[in-house]
């Protein structure tokens, strides 16, 4: 679980997940372009690659080879562990 929390603690990594939810199955080039142009994140490809490795080890990003290309896919399944641990129901006042 620590890996998961560490993965989503970083704003650049959250932006990567946002962009993959916008369009799943992106190359490193496409992701870097979106982060630069839409989020003003000017990190190097190498830095983004390292962020992707953290997301991959947390199970939030799946990397798949397709012939000579490599694409990145979002996997939200590990996040369900958070709502299972802390169920997402609203607070109800004891007085009502």
């Amino acid at each position: 679980m620590d890996e998961l929390y560490r993965a989503i603690a970083d704003p650049t990594r959250r932006a990567i997940l946002d962009e993959l939810v916008d369009r799943d199955g992106q190359s490193l080039f496409e992701l870097c372009g979106r982060l630069t142009m839409k989020h003003g994140i000017g990190s190097s490809r190498q830095a983004i690659s390292q962020h992707l490795e953290v997301l991959e080890s947390a199970g939030l990003v799946i990397v798949e080879r397709e012939g000579r290309y490599k694409f990145h896919w979002f996997n939200g399944e590990p996040l369900s562990a958070i709502s299972e641990r802390w169920p997402a129901h609203a607070h109800r006042s004891a007085e009502s």
Partner: protein, 130 residues
């Protein structure tokens, strides 16, 4: 000084010539035998006196690992300007061209990336900066 020629390393000159002329629509300008290879250059029909694109054999041992690494990460090393990227994307897809990136709107520019079937990824871009 001006830019008059740029090269693209291709794994098969004849197949490259077919793809770049028949599919992309460029025109052959020079085709000169050079030993086992040819000196082939192309121009855009929209700019026949403009910069030429040379289809260069990718035989040098450093070129293939370089191309492979770029393709793996989805990186285009060459970019062409188009007037209507949505139409061009649709046209090329209908001809069986494989896009690794559909048109993405970056604000000042919309860009897409496809495979040239000769070992390269190519970007096409529609700018809105005049």
């Amino acid at each position: 000084m001006r830019i008059n020629l740029s090269s693209i390393p291709v794994d098969d000159q004849e197949r490259a010539l077919q793809f770049y002329t028949e599919t992309l629509g460029f025109k052959k300008k020079h085709d000169i035998p050079m030993g086992k290879h040819r000196w082939i250059t192309l121009v855009s029909p929209e700019d026949p006196d403009g910069p030429e694109l040379c289809l260069e054999p990718d035989e040098h041992p450093a070129v293939k690992p370089f191309k492979t690494a770029l393709v793996e990460d989805g990186i285009p090393f060459t970019s062409f300007a188009v007037k209507d990227i949505a139409a061009e994307h649709k046209r090329l897809e209908s001809l069986g061209v494989r896009f690794t990136q559909p048109p993405v709107d970056y604000g000042p520019v919309t860009a897409a990336v496809f495979d040239d079937t000769c070992g390269n990824l190519i970007q096409i871009a529609e700018g809105r900066m005049g």
